[in-house]
């Protein structure tokens, strides 16, 4: 018999290394004699879209499109350290460093433009498409390349996140900042004869601070859901006496495209004041609440609580049979 159930899971997640550990990102912005803008920052792209949004952040500040920016990353001979692509910290940390560097470059350019155009102040100067112009008198304008003399213009900025070490005795402190909140709702169908759990519907509400790139946010939610789904019902190391038996992908099963569902996504935007344009990282948060939601839905369907994952068909079937026996 197939039984259906619904469940939700909600989590909040602290971004960054946390607990007072130095969490530093660095970025350099450079403009060469052709007026071309390059950014040097080591935000590793692991498929999450770091490169795209880092260029968007800089572009937003400098009035450029992502195609106008030469982004140099993942090359330690050219870039300074921006920490790991971990702890869901790149958007917040490196994003902040890049924003700071771009702003600092903008200031520098505006001051150079003020002198070049023989103006009294930088007030009213706009930046767009490699060009700086006076809004009230647009013919007073100068291009980036006209401002670069013998040497490339280069600025460097660094961002350090704020967190304090937690008091081990009292548990008090501010070990993380910022936090990200989310909630998943799923509907499952449990086949009580085979123990197979199928997730048939799902919805995710994810707080992102600000979605710098909504499509990438949705992609990350899909990816996180797939990982959480595998975590809940498939991925089994089968570790016996310290030996991993499922040591290849023919045995260690992860979801395929056919196992994925068409997930409904709700992006919740509540800009974080210390974040670049309010944006927070969601790499890990999008995964954490999936498994509890699935386990709650399974409980709703068959009345059995699981305290160990993954709930593979053999475990589900055994639990159903055990609970029937107890009932008798």
């Amino acid at each position: 018999m197939k039984k259906r159930g619904k469940g939700i899971g909600a989590t909040f997640y602290g971004t960054g290394y946390g607990n007072g550990f130095p969490d530093v990102s660095k970025a350099v912005v450079e403009i060469d004699k052709d007026g071309k803008v390059s950014i040097y920052s080591c935000a590793t792209e692991v498929g999450q879209g770091a490169k795209t949004i880092m260029m968007q952040i800089a572009g937003e500040v400098l009035g450029l499109g992502v195609n106008d920016i030469n982004f140099i990353s993942e090359d330690t001979s050219l870039t300074q350290d921006s920490g790991t692509a971990a702890a869901s910290r790149q958007t917040y940390n490196t994003g902040n460093a890049i924003k700071l560097a771009a702003e600092s470059m903008k200031n520098k350019l505006l001051n150079l433009a003020k002198d070049y155009l023989k103006l009294n102040a930088t007030l009213g100067l706009e930046m767009e498409d490699h060009k700086i112009y006076l809004k009230m008198e647009p013919e007073k304008c100068v291009y980036f390349n006209q401002l670069v003399e013998k040497e490339n213009i280069k600025v460097s900025e660094s961002f350090t996140a704020q967190s304090t070490q937690m008091d081990e005795e009292t548990g008090q402190g501010s070990p993380y900042w910022p936090y990200t909140f989310n909630c998943y709702g799923v509907e499952v169908e449990v086949d009580t004869e085979t123990g197979i759990v199928e997730v048939i519907k799902g919805v995710c509400a994810q707080d992102v601070g600000r979605a710098i790139n909504p499509e990438l946010v949705e992609g990350q939610i899909d990816g996180g859901f797939a990982m959480g789904l595998g975590y809940a019902i498939m991925e089994d190391l089968n570790c016996v006496n310290g030996k991993i038996h499922n040591n290849k992908f023919s045995k260690y099963l992860i979801p395929t495209a056919l196992d994925m569902i068409d997930l409904q996504k709700i992006i919740v935007e509540d800009p974080e004041s210390t974040a670049p344009f309010g944006a927070k990282g969601i790499g890990e948060p999008v995964m954490t609440a999936v498994t509890p939601a699935i386990l709650n839905a399974v409980y709703d369907a068959i009345g059995v609580r699981f305290y160990e994952i993954p709930i593979t068909p053999d475990k589900v079937l055994k639990a159903i049979n055990d609970s029937l026996r107890e009932g008798e």
Binding site: D191, E193, T194, G195, I196, M234, S250, L253, P255, T256, A257, L258, D259, T312, P313, D314, L317, K318, N321
Partner: protein, 289 residues
């Protein structure tokens, strides 16, 4: 280590090589299993005989009485054949459940049979169809029932000089149907935990005139469940009867897999799978009017 890979241009040449040095060569068609063995250094022979490109081995012929499928036919070709889907839904479903599109584009039905895997997806429906294998060698042709082909896990009755040429079975007629169900742990690229295929011939709606049941991954090789067939043959189909038979099936599985960690799960899961397959087969038989 492989020292030589031969790709003959005629079937005759293939049979000659098999005749002369059959024990040293391994046939390769789709290679979806063999290549993995080679990579894992599990492959011991020194020569590969490549028959992947032989058009002569790729055919699906459906006549009024007999249907034959060439051993080199790829799963994709079977899945894309509308006649197979219409007449032999169970076989079609089994072929569709093989791996993923990439594997179905490479893997052949002959390879699936000869590889001797207990979990081979296409074998239970072919067993349920009571298929015969046509084995050819340099100057002989031998016909062997598929159910007698399996000797042990990974061991089949293919002689060193033989090539599986085609699989042949009766074309289904009025009141006949075949169904297939597979229990995998995900929806693609899943190795069968259990599979079941049932052929049924009905008379007067719900009377089972003939039935053949085959299972996969419940023993050393895919096999016919003759005991169950006897319980169902010449019986009026009913929920009560199906429940009794499925309980007996669980009992058989328990005996067969005694001592294995998968026994508890398979014993329990087979009964639902069996009933579902049986109902599907009945439905198919009623459809093929």
């Amino acid at each position: 280590m492989i020292r030589q890979c031969i790709t003959p241009s005629t079937l005759e040449a293939v049979l000659n090589i098999l005749d002369e040095e059959g024990k040293d060569v391994e046939l390769i068609a789709g290679g979806t299993d063999l290549v993995i063995d080679i990579r894992n250094e599990k492959f011991k022979k020194s020569k590969l005989l490549n028959i992947a490109k032989f058009k002569l081995l790729k055919f699906i012929n459906i006549n009024e009485d007999k249907t034959s499928i060439g051993s080199g036919t790829k799963f994709t070709d079977i899945v894309e054949n509308g006649e197979v889907e219409k007449l032999f839904l169970g076989l079609w479903k089994a072929c569709k459940s093989v791996g993923a599109p990439q594997i179905r584009n490479m893997g052949t039905i002959g390879g699936n049979i000869c590889n001797g895997s207990p979990a081979a997806d296409s074998v239970p429906p072919l067993l349920a169809l009571d298929a015969n294998l046509i084995m050819i060698s340099k100057d002989k042709e031998r016909v062997i029932p598929l159910r007698e082909f399996y000797l042990d896990k990974g061991r089949v009755d293919r002689r060193e000089d033989e090539l599986l040429y085609a699989i042949k079975f009766n074309t289904l007629k009025r009141n006949e149907g075949i169904a297939f169900e597979k229990l995998g742990l995900r929806k693609a690229l899943a190795i069968s935990r259990i599979s079941c295929s049932i052929y049924i011939q009905l008379e007067k709606n719900d009377y089972i005139k003939n039935i053949r049941i085959a299972t996969g991954a419940l023993g050393k090789y895919p096999q016919r469940e003759v005991e169950l067939e006897c319980m169902l043959k010449n019986q009026e189909i009913s929920t009560g009867l199906l429940n009794t038979v499925s309980k007996h099936m669980s009992h058989i599985v328990e005996q067969r897999l005694k001592g294995r960690s998968s026994m508890h799960f398979k014993r329990s899961a087979i009964s639902g799978l069996f009933i579902k397959t049986c109902k599907d087969a009945v439905e198919e038989a009623k459809k093929n009017v």
